[in-house]
Symmetry: none
Subunit: 211 residues, 4 copies
DNA sequence: AATGAATGAGAATTCATTCAT
DNA sequence: GATGAATGAATTCTCATTCAT
């Protein structure tokens, strides 16, 4: 197995043709990843599926890991957008309602392409410290903290930072583990309600009246 | 790279010497896994570290995956024992106390060799449907369900099955994600308390008075 | 081009079969080097010619460079033996006679497989600091110094060390450059005599009477 | 890797801009060669360092070898000029004085950019029969022959052709081997004197009185 | 004249696995 | 039971070169 791997994209494509090549490569990576899994996703195979020469692939991605990194990066951004959008929508509603909206959105996002999600998560674990990941987690933390701060009146735990951390880690942990172990539950409304319930009971003083 | 292979141990070692060989191989696998990661953990390397010929390794493990599977299997068993023991200890205490004991024990178990844990989790994700894993999850589910049934008086949710599933998935999800993303929190008492708090509030009617 | 290159043999073959494999690989390396030159001498090609799998090649040589290094090493040893043997033979004769014997022997040695010699020299230059080379040069220096010391009566230059260095560098330089630029002269008796003459006139006081 | 190719420059740049491009490419080649060695000196890298597109490089040099060839060519010319100039200066002095001047100049020339020199020599060896090289050697031979002819009175060997060949091969061999093996000696006055001494003793009848 | 995107043959190297001894 | 030599498909990645723009 050759050389250690840079994960930064090698060069920014400027011409439209190049841009198309890059997109084709990324799309092919997803396809292959989903169809054959990470181990079988050789760079040659990706290039072939992308209808691009292996040389072109390496023109834009200095290593196989860079391909993964870019995919994870984009995935993260989209995830964060989902979070940010729904959190913003919940700005004026109760913590419970906001939690429900966010959790529902996150579960929905994971239902889109669960197999791809799975592989990306495995690779996140494998790649370990990935800058994109750190950034995303920090941003998420910050976002939820801000949200909780603006709902302070309703909030039970004294320490907002800790509350945010627990909430973020919990929801993320449950989501991922559900994705990995029982993905069919990702669409189970009752399950979503229960998770929402759990988080809400942790975050707000008054017991929610539902159930 | 030759085709994937069976994951069942090839033969049960009967002689003491053979038993020692098997243990040496498994120990070496752990060592190599922790030191070099999965990618670098070649069977040849494992055999070398175990001080055993590659031929001997294949005498007892029909494939690299079998090595992993055995390790995961044992890991699971130990985990389940921790759960079973602590759950049993909590049989007579409140849900809250039992939850605290269990969560504390699980976190403690993950602190023992976090790097090995990490690798095993990654591999669980990668190997996907692993019988040992299914069995373990089912057993855990069953165990918690029984526990909750025997504490029905205290239990808030109507549906015990659902409550158990939420509790199991949550704790497991949080534990794993904590291990992967911020392993240093595995020993943070405040964090453990908060998680306990969250799960308890979900499971029992009366709000716990602490914090 | 993959990983930087260790040049030490990977393992010493102990079984006879393995020994044969190693020899076959080295022989094939020579063949391919001579027939196709260094650039075309891929490890796959060498293995093929050796009638050995590429895996076996890498079992004994951790890199392409290691193959070269071993060949150069052996070449050096043989060269040094030629030197040592002829120098020893000349122990009782005059410097001139000894010089003639040595130079003749060295030229003869370079006539044996000039193409292989060429390639090895190129590679010595390319590999730069190669331990085997350093050792060989040092040993040669020492040998010639000892020889000159034992012929001190006849020796003109005051500084034996310098004299040895000049003699060694000259003969070696001339030999190599002759090999590279006009290999046909390697067998030219007149040319050999002239080189001998030059070195002798430098080393001894009395002008030799020949020519 | 595509087939080997012609080594003649593809076209003579006529415009000033084109001339500048060619010079930039050659300068970049030197830089890259010295910094990273031949193996790493890819045409793409050279073009990048030259601040020129790879297409432009191939506009002027039909192959990587052509780049090398041009560099070697220029190097040779400069070397020959050094020789011609110093030989001419020595026209009126003794063989010894002329030899000293020439050898000193040649050594000095090799001290200028030894790393580049090294690489060029390696490549000379690799490229084998290079027209520029043949021409240069022939010219050098001719030059020294003429010089010796014009100092016939002082000359010892009967055969001028042979004497010239020995002298040229010796000095060149020693120079190159010194460059390759102990470049620090390129500036050692004592060493230069000794080489001069050796060559002079070979060429002239009367023993020089120095040292 | 210049650009730079695209090419793809081919190189080095790894590693799970087999099987003769 | 144990050994370890041998295997070879497969993988990642490079780089000289072309050619449409």
């Amino acid at each position: 197995m050759p050389r250690a791997a840079a994960t930064k994209p090698r060069k920014e494509p400027t011409q439209a043709r190049a841009q198309a090549t890059v997109e084709a490569i990324l799309a092919a990576t997803k396809t292959v990843l989903v169809k054959d899994g990470y181990e079988a996703a050789s760079t040659n195979r990706v290039a072939e599926v992308a209808g691009v020469s292996i040389g072109s692939l390496y023109q834009y991605f200095p290593s196989k890991a860079a391909l993964l990194a870019e995919l994870i990066q984009r995935h993260m951004s989209r995830m964060f957008e989902v979070l940010a959008t729904t959190a913003q929508q919940g700005e004026t509603s109760s913590i419970e309602e906001a939690a429900r909206t966010v959790i529902r959105a996150v579960f929905a996002a994971h239902r889109v392409n669960p197999k791809l999600h799975r592989v990306l998560i495995e690779q996140m674990a494998r790649l370990g410290t990935l800058e994109a990941l750190e950034t995303f987690e920090a941003q998420t933390q910050e976002l939820i903290e801000q949200f909780l701060l603006s709902h302070r009146a309703e909030l039970r735990p004294k320490n907002v930072k800790v509350a945010a951390r627990v909430a973020v880690l919990s929801v993320r942990g449950v989501t991922l583990w559900t994705l990995l172990r029982s993905p069919e539950q990702l669409g189970d409304e009752e399950f979503i309600d229960e998770i929402t319930d759990m988080v809400t009971r942790y975050l707000v003083e008054a017991r929610p009246r539902r159930r």
